[in-house]
Symmetry: C2
Subunit: 346 residues, 2 copies
């Protein structure tokens, strides 16, 4: 009999609430012969305040033993900006070499978008996850004085760029439209820009069926609101990916339904799946948070581990639930979770 | 009698067409006693192909003698990406210390927006223009090999951050809502982020009437499409400003009406005014381009030089023209210019 050994990190704020629903749906969808084992970890603001720790080497050793990680949200106003982001979220992405940060955007029927008209939105962003301006390189001299200088160094390697570009081409090849767009700013960031552009063009030769184009990141934000239908797969650097995926989430129904995977494609380390939204302390503990983004992250997790049919059942359930939602009275976090669990089980 | 001594750089593509209309409106609005002198310069793709030059020291000495610079657009597909951007546009911003890159966004009545509902949009972005990832610092080793490493260094100084933050606070103080938002990514880019945040908080103490807040750049793109009314003045770094001002232009009527100023507030060097749109080679030479963004850039130019009443007349004319436009048959570039010139003269 098969097993799925999951590390669960509810985290802060609404993280607890949405993860509970994600697990509910996961249990409901898994075939009888797959044994689900979960172990919960208390990372986040409370642990930081209690122990000063964010993520230790021993923690990483523990997490490493699981097949995958499901995360709710990490972050709290009581912790200085950057501490949990650098000390937990980014540390985990770097330690487990999550170089493919996968963020699908699909505007589902019945879902409200801030865009006028009836935009067609169905694309996926492959964001590089271990390089660029996220490496923590840089520093400060003369801190706090009128002569302070602070630098941030974006580090880009042929190795790092090529592997994520290859992943994106493979994904584009597998989709009906077979289109891949590189988003960068190669007219200004010419060093990194040339590397990205050259690698992209080189790998493109191996994928003659994939249509390619290039768009500067500033122009990409324009197209995301005026013509999102032009995008199929986007590949981009870590920081540009961070920015455009929030915008992509906003136009395709909001961060209430945006899922993401921090993926190590070769499975040397467990991959981590999380909703794009944060811990939303303002609505935490009220049973108001929409668990759909977490549930869709569970679908990405299942697909990563090869449970494609179950992933599709979850996606269909969320789709059906959202399509009906306009007619439904407002439901709590757990009511939505119950409804989704019932659908995938049925 | 007073004079206005203007350097005019039509540039590439539609640049020629829109600048002609900008000058037409400028001539029509200027009081009789202001003598307008213009000198045209041939920077851009043609000059680059003919001479290999983009902007020489002698050119800078010439340009320096003018009160201001009006630019159409620079850029052509025949020139490799980065050559004119780094060699002309950015070189000029850096040489003339254009540290305030001013980009107002106002959704005018009658203007189409990709957003649903009737969003209220009236804010201005103060983008830093001489630092951040735009400095050209960084480099490449092992170029073209599987071991290539390319870096981009974002350079941020207390001097550079403080002067642009001060400029933004002064602008916020002068507006009815008196609100200033800092946009950065201080949870990840912690070195530069701390510098920006500390300087911002320090200067805020001198402006007790200005309400302040902070938003990460990724979240800012969400608010720009879901709640643009929350913004009054935004201050941000060079690259974040590049990205969010394209999005801001898109939601507030498109780059057809987005103006910008590359400003040296102390007037040690002439400031440069240009539409946010590029050279649009696909529609060049057809008399189709909307000159409104250039005309509004002329208004920014006039306000920078203290001709506030004339700037307001131009803005009112563009507003009135756009409000009427829905009812008008499509007009050519010069027909729109004529209409605006007639309005400001009347
Ligand atoms: C919280 C932060 C470190 C993170 C990022 O910048 O990657 C978040 O914005 C995201 O997109 O997952
Ligand atoms: C053309 C390019 C160098 C420029 C920039 O990145 O600043 C443009 O996008 C702009 O916003 O003025």
């Amino acid at each position: 009999s098969r097993s799925l050994n999951l590390a669960v990190i509810p985290g802060d704020g609404i993280g607890q609430e949405v993860v509970a629903e994600g697990l509910k749906v996961l249990s409901a969808v898994l075939p009888q012969d797959v044994k689900l084992e979960t172990k919960e970890y208390d990372f986040g603001a409370r642990r930081y305040h209690a122990t000063g720790e964010t993520l230790t080497d021993a923690d990483l050793d523990e997490l490493k033993r699981h097949d995958a990680i499901l995360l709710g949200a990490i972050g709290d106003p009581s912790v200085p900006s950057g501490v949990l982001e650098r000390g937990f979220l980014l540390k985990l992405r770097f330690a487990f070499d999550h170089h493919v940060n996968l963020r699908p955007s699909k505007l589902l029927p019945g879902v409200a978008t801030p865009l006028a008209g009836e935009p067609q939105i169905d694309f996926v962003v492959v964001r590089e996850g271990t390089e660029g301006p996220y490496t923590g390189n840089g520093g400060t001299i003369r801190k706090g004085t009128p002569h302070e200088v602070a630098t941030e160094v974006s580090v880009n390697t042929a190795f790092g760029v090529e592997r994520v570009v290859r992943d994106a081409f493979a994904r584009a090849q597998a989709r009906p439209r077979k289109k891949l767009t590189l988003v960068h700013k190669n007219n200004v960031l010419t060093f990194a820009g040339h590397l990205w552009t050259n690698v992209f063009n080189k790998v493109a030769e191996e994928y003659p069926e994939v249509t390619t184009d290039y768009i500067h990141v500033d122009a990409a934000t324009i197209y995301l609101v005026t013509d999102p239908a032009r995008f199929d797969v986007i590949v981009t650097d870590n920081l540009f990916g961070d920015i455009i995926t929030d915008l992509a989430a906003a136009v395709s129904g909001g961060i209430g339904v945006a899922a993401s995977g921090n993926i190590n494609p070769g499975r040397e380390f467990p991959s981590m799946f999380e909703p794009v939204h944060g811990s939303a302390p303002d609505i935490a503990g009220q049973g108001k948070a929409d668990p759909s983004a977490t549930v869709l992250s569970v679908a990405l997790l299942l697909r990563h581990l090869g449970h494609d049919a179950e992933a599709a059942r979850i996606e269909d359930a969320v789709s059906a639930d959202l399509a009906e939602r306009g007619g439904l009275p407002a439901r709590s976090t757990s009511e939505i979770g119950d409804a989704l669990a019932a659908r995938v089980a049925g």
